[in-house]
């Protein structure tokens, strides 16, 4: 049926298997499906293969919790709230995780290709960068580019002397994750998705993925969204599951709804200096609460209230941000 199923977060995340390839909507610390991240950790998913346009607080948590076998992306950090992904950096330095570095355009193009049913996309970007140095083809060096894993291209890239200008261009293989999880402001009862503010690379990651979970701040009537179809991003036939979960993006930000919780992210980042630090943090904020509602209760209404955005501006005018 070309209509998604409305389920609980637990049920949606329960469909994801160990070893699956995952990606997420959003951008760095904006509009990330954090409730789903906590639930993936609680359900003890293992050996996940993340491929992301860019990382952020969400994937560094998954890495810290030992859920991730392979991390592929262009970046991991917390914007101004933490200068890198602490768990990821530590595990890379210790050789505890497989990783593959890409440039932003390269990994975006993996999804553009995937979303259009193409095996690759060409790009001029990053010629001369060490991300294309064969010494840094980490999945290749791990023997994973033998064609047996449908999620891992036979080549990290191909330098192709293309026949129209006789110059070299780089071909980057498509990515088609098993799952994409995206947090949005609104979804209709039949699955029509509307994003307010920047769409980042949501359309590309969603269309490239075999299955989609949409977590919405609010499920609204289809008709109300269909009054303005040019403002919608996606039809329900591309969505498998919809979940309604207000504040499900905390501590990342959600345009027009709430700011990122910078203090929360900064504290998380501080905890990731050591595995023990992260484990302690996770005991408090993930394992120590039964579900997302308990997490929100623990944060408290007052804290959340300080993050609320002015819908007209898209952000908060009252939140204290700087030294003055």
């Amino acid at each position: 049926m070309a209509r998604p199923k409305k389920v609980s977060l637990t049920e949606a995340i329960g469909q994801i298997k160990d070893g699956d390839m995952l990606t997420f909507g959003g951008f760095t610390v904006w509009r990330r499906p954090m409730a789903a991240i906590y639930e993936l950790i609680r359900q003890k998913k293992r050996n996940l293969h993340l491929v992301e346009v860019n990382g952020g607080t969400h994937d560094d948590m998954l890495v810290g919790a030992g859920c991730v076998g392979i991390w592929e992306s262009s970046w991991c950090g917390h914007e101004l709230y933490g200068k890198l992904g602490g768990n990821l950096a530590r595990r890379i330095e210790k050789g505890e995780i497989l990783y593959e570095d890409w440039s932003h355009i390269q990994v975006l193009n993996r999804f553009v290709a995937g979303s259009k049913g193409l095996p690759f996309m060409p790009t001029y970007s990053a010629m001369g960068s060490d991300v294309l140095n064969p010494d840094n083809d980490m999945l290749g060096k791990a023997g994973l580019r033998d064609g047996s894993n449908p999620h891992i291209g036979k080549h990290k890239h191909i330098a192709y002397k293309e026949p129209f200008t006789d110059s070299e261009i780089i071909l980057i293989p498509a990515a088609n994750p098993d799952w994409c999880i995206t947090h949005v402001q609104t979804v209709g009862t039949e699955g029509t998705v509307r994003v307010e503010g920047l769409r980042f690379s949501d359309q590309e990651v969603i269309k490239a993925s075999k299955h989609n979970i949409i977590i919405a701040e609010k499920i609204v009537s289809e008709d109300s969204l269909r009054e303005h179809p040019t403002r919608n991003m996606l039809g329900g036939y591309l969505v498998d599951y919809i979940v309604e979960l207000p504040w499900g993006a905390h501590p990342t930000g959600l345009y027009g709804v709430h700011e990122p919780d910078g203090e929360f992210i900064a504290n998380f980042f501080k905890s990731t200096r050591t595995q023990e630090g992260f484990d302690q943090w996770a005991d408090e904020w993930i394992y120590g609460v039964k579900d997302y509602q308990e997490y929100l209760d623990k944060l408290g209404k007052e804290r959340l209230q300080t993050l609320v955005a002015d819908p007209a501006l898209g952000y908060s005018k009252t939140m204290k941000r700087g030294s003055r």
């Binding site: 970046w75 101004l80 440039s103 001369g128 920047l198 700087g322 030294s323």
Partner: protein, 269 residues
């Protein structure tokens, strides 16, 4: 001349003020600018409020030509989209970048080398300290007509090196191909060559690149000598072309930075 246009004296500005204002001066009016989080945002906003009122700023998360009334803290911040011409996403703006329309880009890095190659991935190479990775640094550096690097330098000579330990973003010359031979960017990029690193602006001086794609000192910030700049580099910096002192911030620029652009004290603390 309006006294606001007068240049401040040493003691009247902080190193970061000079960094932001020197960076702002790289923009010409009408140019299309790609900027990242932090100081680059201040630089483009100063430029737009002084010599480059019609310059267009694109942020890589997808906002185009925004007119923020509050300083954004990341390129995906809702503040970037305020009164923007377009707010779409990465495929749009990176496509435009690759098509060659970006005149100038502001970037940062952990290491820069003699040829303008930049490292934001591993300090000390793939067995060293892990950083954030490329993000758009690589793409923007690869494809903008001119890129301007904003880097701290004083007391951190390991950031200005002869050869970066990992090339995240290619400069004017780099090892390329199966044999890792040194090649020029123009040669490798062919029809897609748009330009390359135009300047490195540190807390000590402004550096540019000569016809061989090698970095040299262009101006030295007040309070430092050309020798100081050289001593804070791990390679033998060319100081022979130094034109003198970097212009200090004007009173107008300082007023913009502290009272108009960042009154909350987010970056200009």
């Amino acid at each position: 001349m309006d006294s606001k246009k007068g240049h401040s004296k040493p003691g009247e500005f902080k190193p970061m003020d000079l960094l932001a204002c020197a960076a702002a001066r790289e923009v010409k009016d009408g140019e299309v600018v790609f900027a990242g989080t932090g100081l680059p945002m201040l630089a483009i906003m100063v430029a737009q409020k002084t010599q480059a009122p019609t310059a267009v700023c694109i942020y890589e998360a997808g906002s185009i030509d925004g007119r923020p009334i509050d300083l954004p803290t990341s390129v995906a911040d809702a503040r970037c989209s305020y009164q923007a011409a377009v707010a779409d996403g990465l495929n749009d703006v990176f496509g435009q970048l690759q098509s060659g329309i970006v005149d100038l880009a502001y970037l940062g890095g952990a290491e820069v080398d003699l040829y303008g190659n930049v490292n934001t991935t591993f300090m000390g190479g793939p067995t060293g300290k892990r950083l954030t990775g490329s993000g758009g640094n690589n793409d923007i550096h690869s494809l903008a007509k001119r890129s301007v690097l904003i880097m701290p330098q004083l007391g951190q000579k390991r950031r200005f090196v002869e050869q970066v330990s990992y090339i995240t973003s290619p400069g004017w010359r780099f090892p390329y191909g199966p044999n890792r031979e040194w090649r020029s960017k123009q040669e490798v990029y062919g029809p897609a060559f748009n330009g390359g690193p135009a300047a490195v602006i540190s807390d000590m001086g402004v550096y540019r690149f000569d016809e061989n794609g090698e970095m040299y000192l262009d101006t030295v910030h007040p309070g430092f000598t050309a020798e100081d700049c050289r001593e804070n580099c791990s390679f033998k910096l060319n100081i022979s072309k130094c034109q003198g002192e970097t212009l200090t911030p004007t009173y107008e620029e300082l007023d913009l930075l502290y009272n108009v652009i960042d009154p909350e004290g987010i970056i200009m603390k």
